[in-house]
Subunit: 205 residues, 2 copies
DNA sequence: TGTACATCAGTGAACGCGCGTTCACTGATGTAC
DNA sequence: TGTACATCAGTGAACGCGCGTTCACTGATGTAC
């Protein structure tokens, strides 16, 4: 057991984890501070030893999510190197993989309604993730003739949007309908076609 | 005034409209039945003359949204005819236009967490919208050589995902950050590059 | 090793609040004669 | 045209609930002597 310290031990992190599992199970609306406290085996009032309140707890869960997310993006980027194309494709895949593996974090980050500008730490972590994708886009844009090159920030936004859309519409059961294709395939082919449109993949395969 | 009938007149629709404006102003979480009743100038209990409860009211708001949405998609499709390409592009644009013009409906439909399978009417209306986009994709796929043609449902899903992602990430202030480009441009160029990747637009412009 | 003390994480009771929902009712309207 | 009645949309009071938050407290732990 990680019961270092006295009394509970590591209540702060236990509360974050309880919050994550509740958010994952019942959606951002279903989460309550009282229930998170209960799940951690503690009185609601105890939460206030570690957090300013309900929203602060969610924000911390989101922050940890952004850290993991940024690390994942960075790792994917590095793994794709030195190929700009491989790096770019890997970061797209990392988005979906993150949503799959960390649904609680994902919801806290993108569906709980908390703003990324809430705290500097939150902002910093999310910027880190965004920067990795933009760097990958930047690398890639070197391979497009300068005169017909769209801004890197633009096609990083395109891929970000397609990834987000695939996750929201087809990888989570939001609109109730089942996905017509495996989300991974959908994203893979979608990005493939898009990159072909940029002239970065030969038209025939 | 539309005070037909006696007493309030058209309370049912007034409640839907109150719900929409509250959802738009305060998010799906901020909406409460009591406040909607208050805004319509009526006691909370009066709501139960017209709806089964809170969720039923949101569902009706979403249903009306899907009807408007499907009509808009159909109109866009028709306007693009007889060009398959024009029809397809127009439906993509219609998605964003809808989110812009009917934010309350949009949130009720896509962010309130109510399932499309909640009622047959809701399901029917959403299927109508999806069908228009898929028909547009089907038309378009005729212009791709049969041997290298991806399933129409797949690239309708791609465009749906990109549209949804652009709206969520850049047209609404969800993650707090401002958009790097006007969402309309982002979607326009994104779909353009994608269609080029499909070989439906000449590589040089 | 043993005792006295300081620390502070977590307790437990209480609060005010607004929620969704119920119920018997009331009174404005439409209708029958 | 006038009166008696039926309808039923909306009222107002009440409910039980769980929420987030506060507060004085307690008691397990670490530390000093």
């Amino acid at each position: 057991m990680a019961k270092r310290g006295y009394h509970h031990g590591n209540l702060r992190q236990a509360l974050v984890e309880a919050a994550l599992s509740l958010i994952e199970a019942k959606g951002p609306t279903g989460f309550t501070l009282s229930e998170a406290a209960k799940q951690a085996g503690v009185t609601p009032a105890a939460v206030y030893r570690h957090f300013d309140g309900r929203d602060d707890l969610i924000a911390e869960a989101a922050r940890q999510g952004y850290e993991i997310f940024a690390d994942l993006m960075q790792y994917a980027y590095d793994k794709g190197q030195p190929s700009a194309l491989a790096s770019f494709e890997a970061t797209g895949r990392a988005y979906l993989a993150f949503a799959r593996q960390h649904p609680g974090h994902y919801i806290a980050m993108f569906e709980s309604g908390i703003s990324v500008n809430r705290t500097p730490e939150l902002n910093h972590a999310s910027a880190r993730a965004r920067d990795v994708l933009e760097r990958a886009a930047q690398d890639l844009s070197q391979h497009i003739p300068a005169d017909k090159r769209p801004p890197a920030a633009m096609f990083s936004a395109h891929v970000w949007a397609m990834s987000h859309g695939v996750v929201e519409l087809f990888a989570r059961n939001s609109p109730g309908t089942a996905s017509p294709f495996p989300p991974e395939d959908l994203l893979e082919t979608g990005i493939g076609i898009y990159l072909r449109g940029l002239g970065l993949i030969p038209p025939d395969e």
